[in-house]
Symmetry: C2
Subunit: 342 residues, 2 copies
């Protein structure tokens, strides 16, 4: 299939034809072959005018919090409301485990067989930066195919939450009603970037869930006040992070959750913050890829590869200052001789 | 003065001669002129064999926490014990305010006139990366001059705490006995990197200080357990972050504070972690400077400067995918033509 045929299948097709074109596109985008990459860039540029119309929802939480169960309930609820729902995943740990657990279709058995749902597991190779880039590109494919809610899920390990918050319109943190759980989220800086906190399994211990809600609400207020002075006073035109209780297993609270998401979308569209967030994300993505490219080119440069092992040893042993070693390597890459060291 | 003369003045000199050589060295290290930089690298390499013998102590806290008062009391206490004490500062906000407030000699009137103390304000130009690099190099100068305790202070704004923790053997966080203060520190990831937390102004409200100590001790335990499985069980051979109460104004608790520092140094030297920490810091410093150098060269490249403004606008407007723009800019810098976009 040529990029043009793939593009037509995604934008104009439907049913199995469209799904096949989407799969082809995502495979092309995930390829590391140079000629594929040139085709992928061409395809992306052609798809771009058809993207941007979905609501992009990030959902994060530690293993066992109930993400799959919740996303399945939410997806089926949204399809019942007339939406088309795509579910993507960012799971850098899949590189280690050799397979992707997130977005696995067997976990969402009802949603995965629904015509109006598209589920794609996490790309299973590369660094977090690479996985994130492929997921961002897959998101554009889903949007061009007309999915109007794209859910990107991630497991609460490492830096993946920040990556997902950086590619979505709204970032949701799922928590259990456990003491200490919220402290962990604050520590990792995840609470701070959450637009909405969901306490799942609220049915098991209603008292614990209510205590957790009070505690997290107070943390969110404190974090907001100190971090950002404009949040110090309640501003009606602006979203303030909230806490909602649900029971994904019993399907309770999904409507209340979606009402909060809709209210967020309404407010942040009206005050312009949603558009600003997307602009910032696009520029940050560009610079992230540039930095990754610069580091890769540096590490692959023959002169750098020749000098690096010895210089690293010298730095560790204290024979050369780290800043001097850095300058010598940069000069070597640029083709200039390292400064003479006596 | 030649680099050799400066080196002799620092390593062999004393009194005003040594101070003059130190000032010359630091001025040379802070210069941005290319020929000065080559001389500075030569000087650093000559000083390096005489460095590494000091204990490097980082101290951080928000404005008003009482850092100057405490550092003066600590410095005078240490001099009374036979030490020589240098105080450096990392304050990236000084670039904005147009002058450095940290390390200002007028704030430590007794310490600053003492023969066995050396106080140097924060470099007042450049980014945090630049300020941090100059401070790391100044630290090496102080060590070569025989100062055996080097204190690096920073104000609790931005990312400067991480930078200071990354150049010291032990990182101390100063807190007031206020509710919410510790939450802010956890949020910013500062609590997590603290080896010791000091509650200052404990004299004003002893009950509040005791409550804060209990709360922070419990937070440190929770953070340690989850973040690092090897901390889950108390290990006698390894340091566990502690909380101490002091009153810097009344000079109370300085001896207890120093006893904790000494215990930290003894344990972490015996178990090898202090040496590991310095090796990691040196390599991290090298890579930080390499990345900064790569970005600078990229932004200054003529082809990049020619293409960047338009591409940034295209990315923001959604006319080109961020990843495609990044690849085109990287190709432009490497002298290859950007991929054809239809």
């Amino acid at each position: 299939m040529t990029p043009e045929a793939i593009q037509r299948g995604i934008v104009g097709g439907d049913g199995p034809l469209q799904r096949r074109a989407m799969a082809k596109a995502i495979t092309l985008l995930e390829s590391t072959r140079a000629d594929h990459r040139a085709q992928a860039d061409e395809l992306l540029t052609q798809l771009l005018p058809h993207t941007g119309k979905a609501f992009r929802l990030g959902i994060s939480g530690v293993p066992g919090v109930g993400k799959s169960t919740f996303i399945e309930a939410l997806g089926l609820y949204l399809i019942g409301q007339g939406h088309r729902v795509a579910v993507l995943a960012v799971d850098p740990s899949s590189t280690v485990s050799g397979g992707s657990i997130l977005g696995d279709k067997t976990r969402m058995e009802h949603l995965s067989v629904n015509d109006r749902a598209y589920i794609r597991p996490s790309p299973s190779s590369g660094t977090l930066g690479g996985v994130a880039e492929k997921t961002r590109e897959a998101l554009l494919v889903c949007e061009a195919a007309g999915y109007d809610v794209v859910i990107i899920e991630t497991v609460g390990v490492g830096q993946s939450e920040t990556a997902v918050a950086g590619m979505t319109d709204m970032f949701v943190l799922m928590q259990l009603p456990n003491a200490g759980d919220d402290l962990q989220a604050i520590k990792k800086g995840v609470m701070e970037i959450a637009d909405l906190v969901v306490i799942n399994k609220a049915d098991i211990d209603k008292n614990a869930a209510t205590r957790a809600e009070a505690q997290i609400t107070s943390s969110l207020r404190l974090l907001g006040q100190h971090g950002n002075p404009e949040n110090a006073h309640h501003n009606e035109a602006q979203w303030h992070p909230k806490v909602v209780q649900i029971s994904a297993l019993l399907g309770q609270g999904v409507d209340g959750f979606w009402a909060a998401v809709t209210e967020y979308q309404r407010l942040q569209t009206a005050n312009g913050r949603l558009a600003q967030r997307r602009e910032k994300q696009a520029l940050a993505w560009m610079w992230e890829r540039i930095e990754a490219g610069l580091k890769l080119a540096f590490r692959q440069h023959p002169q750098v590869r020749a000098l690096l092992p010895q210089l690293q040893q010298d730095v560790v042993a204290g024979r050369i200052a780290a800043s001097t070693a850095a300058r010598n390597l940069l000069l070597a890459q640029s083709g200039q001789a390292p400064a003479a060291i006596e």
